[in-house]
């Protein structure tokens, strides 16, 4: 979708933008741009105005401009935000500082490297491992609305990376699997069709997994889709603890199935 420019405005807003071009710049620096102020512009519109009219070298990712593709996450005045959902009117008349997401390597300007996250998704096996095999010809797996509701919230993750850039643990220990990937792993663990929890357990419960989380909760605070990764991690911890007690305290053969 496109944002059209409404009637011209006399007001302006100042953006202070993080710049880093690895071929030219020894160090990152901040560049200041003045853009017109419109009541319904978001920070992304201002960046596009800069790109189109002022400085074609400014580099950032974006696509849908409706908060669902997850491309345009950046730090806006120090908070991780989807820039397509950050309205300039909420900052005006103050200067708006735009930086790449915290804790990720910067490729250029506002573009971060998120390879690490994609590898972690594979590590925690964010796909359905069928509890029981059923040929497609026999139709869908039944799943009641109540069963769907158990995991639905955790399936809403758009992979925007805001939670990682809000997570102090990830900031200090980049090997931490992190909020989004753990929430997605938990999403499959809670899916009534899934039987892959044991396969995911090794990575989820490893040193880099759920126990790294100190429950700061900033991941859930900044999540633009209310996924609540901190809640997902807490749930996984409870399940893991129950499983551990069962394995230690209950005699062999009396263990119950997994409690999800």
């Amino acid at each position: 979708m496109a944002a059209s420019e409404p009637t011209p405005s006399d007001k302006v807003v100042v953006l202070e933008v993080f710049r880093y071009r690895p071929e030219e710049d020894e160090e990152p620096f901040y560049q200041t741009y003045e853009v017109p102020y419109f009541e319904d512009w978001v920070v992304l519109d201002a960046l596009n105005h800069i790109k189109n009219e002022i400085d074609g070298t400014l580099t950032f990712r974006w696509s849908c401009r409706m908060g669902v593709c997850g491309s345009c996450g950046m730090m806006v005045n120090g908070d991780p935000m989807l820039t397509c959902a950050a309205f300039i009117r909420d900052y005006y008349p103050a200067t708006i500082r735009v930086e790449p997401l915290n804790y990720f390597p910067v490729i250029r300007d506002l573009v971060i490297n998120m390879d690490d996250f994609l590898d972690k998704l594979t590590d925690v096996q964010t796909w359905l491992v069928p509890k029981e095999e059923k040929p497609v010809s026999e139709g869908e797996y039944l799943q009641t609305p109540v069963e769907l509701a158990k995991y639905k919230q955790f399936s809403m993750c758009i992979n925007c990376m805001l939670c990682y850039s809000a997570c102090p643990v990830y900031g200090q220990h980049p090997e931490f699997i992190g909020p989004a990937a753990l929430a997605l792993a938990q999403r499959y663990n809670l899916d009534s069709r899934d039987g892959g929890a044991d396969e995911r357990a090794e990575v989820m419960f490893s040193h880099e997994g759920i126990w790294e989380c100190t429950f700061v909760g900033d991941c859930s605070r900044v999540c633009p889709k209310n996924v609540d990764p901190a809640g997902a991690i807490q749930q996984a911890k409870v399940t893991a603890t129950k499983d551990w007690y069962r394995s230690v305290l209950l005699p062999l053969g009396k263990k119950k199935g997994k409690d999800a």
Partner: protein, 586 residues
């Protein structure tokens, strides 16, 4: 230069591309697959689809009904063999996606729920609340992660088809992170690059929808089919063009003019039933008419003075208030979120301003029912392709299913082709790739080209498309648009880039995208100029009637030195002879 080699190469990592990759992952684990995508796959525009995906699964439904709805919705421009095959394979594909974990909304008994959609006689649209495309794309992406034989080239931008002796053998692509041009070769190449809505100024489409694959094929001599058919979705938010899903009408929402009247009943779409009538919303009627007819009704209502004037052009109101908060939250929560965030209104209590907005390109790369293009080794699926099942007007919720059915079919056809084709001549493809690298450097990185800017030319292109090739067209308006596109193509040679960096140069990719957009726009405008009739989404004021005698034929636009050459191909008719499109009566 490095040569990267796979058995099958997929260009585009959206719904069709990922479905194709998984098909090979599942069925041919010994083959290697490369997926070149200019964005991370989960950023692809499939993610924005909201309302649902059609497939017959309920006992009250029938395959023939889905066929008839699709064919009449297409104003008889769809190939009926393709539609039948699509409808037959749809339930299996949708169930398969369920088995891969897609969180479909459910009935209390645990079976998949369906909802009514525009132009469909029976409710058959599967949905995941109103984020169906998002959930389908993420389910496909997460499933694709488990196949070791699938190699992703995320954020690689395809620039050219590699063609040796008339056979497609892969693409050249820029690795955005390094700026290096690479040759990625394969025995079969499948284009899954999506549509081209960005050639219009007011569109629901994401920034990435610039017709890349269509142009790549077109330049290589493969015709673009039925490009004159462009879908305007009747309900976009003014200003931003953000889509308000048809599901809001499928769940009972109504469209009203400035007098609060359900104006659609004045446009041959049936009688308005009371919103409390148990029959409301009535299928194939009023708000559940097809998108082309609803968008045309808006323009006529505007002529009559029934629309409301706003800062971003005229609009009407979509009213969902009678659904109540609980149902809105359950069935169309994303509509509420979008309205609150981007229009500053709450649809639980307020009317939603909406107007028609470019949404989908029915035309695309000419393929048969197996996704094969006329060029050996080249395949296409999804919005970038034209099989055709959508004809002159696509029905809402057929395109998400189309991604699955034809993504999988194209993959199988490409695998089959790979078993019998010859080896790749590395020397020849490397020569082409080197030449392409030089072309890009020469065209865009040498200073002193001129004073044209990308944004400037792009703005002129999208304006002329909207003005000349919109919902209603004339020979005159289309000719003017064709002339402007020709002029813009010439001026494109004077584009001067400010950015000469190799690292993630999005100014360069924007320039390349604009070049693709100009090609697609050219094919579209010329195909529209040549079709002297009105059918489905293609409405010519100077030729207001449908003309089956002359034009029950697909257009094929061929790239040339000057204007494209337009040829025609008969529409395949099997069991449904051309008839009148009737909406609003039982």
């Amino acid at each position: 230069m490095e040569l990267l080699q796979h058995d099958i190469l997929i260009v585009g990592g959206g719904g069709a591309g990922l479905r194709a990759a998984i098909a090979i992952g599942e069925e041919n684990p010994n083959l290697s697959v490369g997926v070149v995508s200019k964005v991370y796959p989960m950023r692809s525009h499939t993610v924005s689809a909201e309302g649902g995906a059609a497939a017959v699964v309920k006992p009250n439904d029938s395959l023939d009904d889905h066929c008839y709805d699709t064919i009449s919705g297409a104003d008889w421009m769809a190939d009926q063999d393709a539609v039948e095959l699509f409808v037959n394979e749809a339930p299996r594909e949708m169930t398969q996606l369920e088995h891969w974990g897609c969180p479909w909304s459910r009935e209390p008994d645990g079976s998949v729920a369906v909802r009514p959609f525009g132009g469909m006689k029976i409710e058959r649209t599967w949905f995941a609340a109103d984020k169906t495309g998002f959930h389908m794309l993420h389910a496909l992406f997460q499933t694709a992660l488990k196949y070791d034989n699938v190699t992703r080239y995320d954020e690689w931008f395809a620039t050219k088809l590699l063609v040796t002796d008339g056979v497609c053998q892969g693409v050249t692509a820029i690795e955005l992170r390094t700026g290096q041009v690479r040759a990625v070769v394969a025995k079969g190449t499948i284009l899954c690059t999506g549509g081209a809505g960005r050639i219009f100024s007011f569109t629901t489409n994401a920034a990435i929808k610039t017709g890349d694959g269509m142009s790549l094929a077109y330049r290589a001599g493969v015709p673009l089919k039925d490009m004159e058919f462009v879908q305007y979705h009747p309900t976009g938010l003014p200003g931003t063009g953000i889509l308000i899903t048809e599901a809001s009408r499928g769940e009972g929402g109504i469209l009203v003019n400035k007098h609060g009247q359900r104006y659609l009943q004045d446009y041959d779409l049936g009688q308005a039933l009371d919103i409390n009538d148990p029959e409301h919303p009535q299928k194939r009627s009023m708000e559940l008419g097809p998108r082309d007819r609803l968008s045309q009704a808006f323009i006529q209502e505007r002529e009559k003075g029934g629309t409301i004037q706003g800062e971003y052009g005229d609009y009407v109101h979509l009213d969902v208030r009678h659904m109540g908060e609980a149902k809105i939250n359950k069935k169309i929560p994303f509509v509420r979120e979008l309205c609150r965030n981007y229009a500053g209104i709450d649809p639980v209590h307020e009317l939603i301003p909406v107007r028609p907005v470019v949404h989908y390109v029915m035309g695309g790369v000419h393929t048969n029912i197996n996704g094969e293009t006329p060029m050996p080794g080249l395949f296409a699926a999804g919005e970038c392709a034209c099989v055709s099942i959508n004809g002159a007007n696509r029905l809402g919720s057929n395109s998400l299913t189309e991604l699955l059915v034809f993504g999988a079919r194209a993959a199988r056809a490409a695998v089959q082709f790979g078993t019998s084709c010859g080896d790749i001549d590395a020397e020849k493809v490397m020569a082409q790739a080197t030449e392409e690298q030089q072309r890009i450097r020469k065209q865009f990185f040498q200073p002193g080209n001129g004073d044209e800017t990308i944004a400037g030319l792009r703005g002129e292109l999208t304006t002329t498309m909207e003005e000349g090739a919109g919902i209603y067209r004339t020979g005159e308006s289309l000719q003017a648009t064709c002339n402007t596109i020709r002029e813009l193509k010439e001026r494109f040679g004077n584009v001067e880039l400010a950015d000469h960096s190799l690292t993630f140069n999005t100014e360069l990719t924007s320039a390349l995208e604009l070049e693709y957009m100009l090609d697609v726009a050219e094919a579209l405008a010329h195909s529209a100029l040549a079709r002297k009739e009105s059918r489905g989404s293609h409405q010519r004021i100077d030729y207001p009637e449908r003309d089956d005698g002359q034009y029950l034929r697909h257009s094929l636009a061929y790239y040339g030195d000057g204007d494209p050459r337009i040829d025609y191909l008969d529409v395949v008719i099997t069991r449904w002879p051309p008839g009148e499109r009737v909406y609003g009566s039982k």
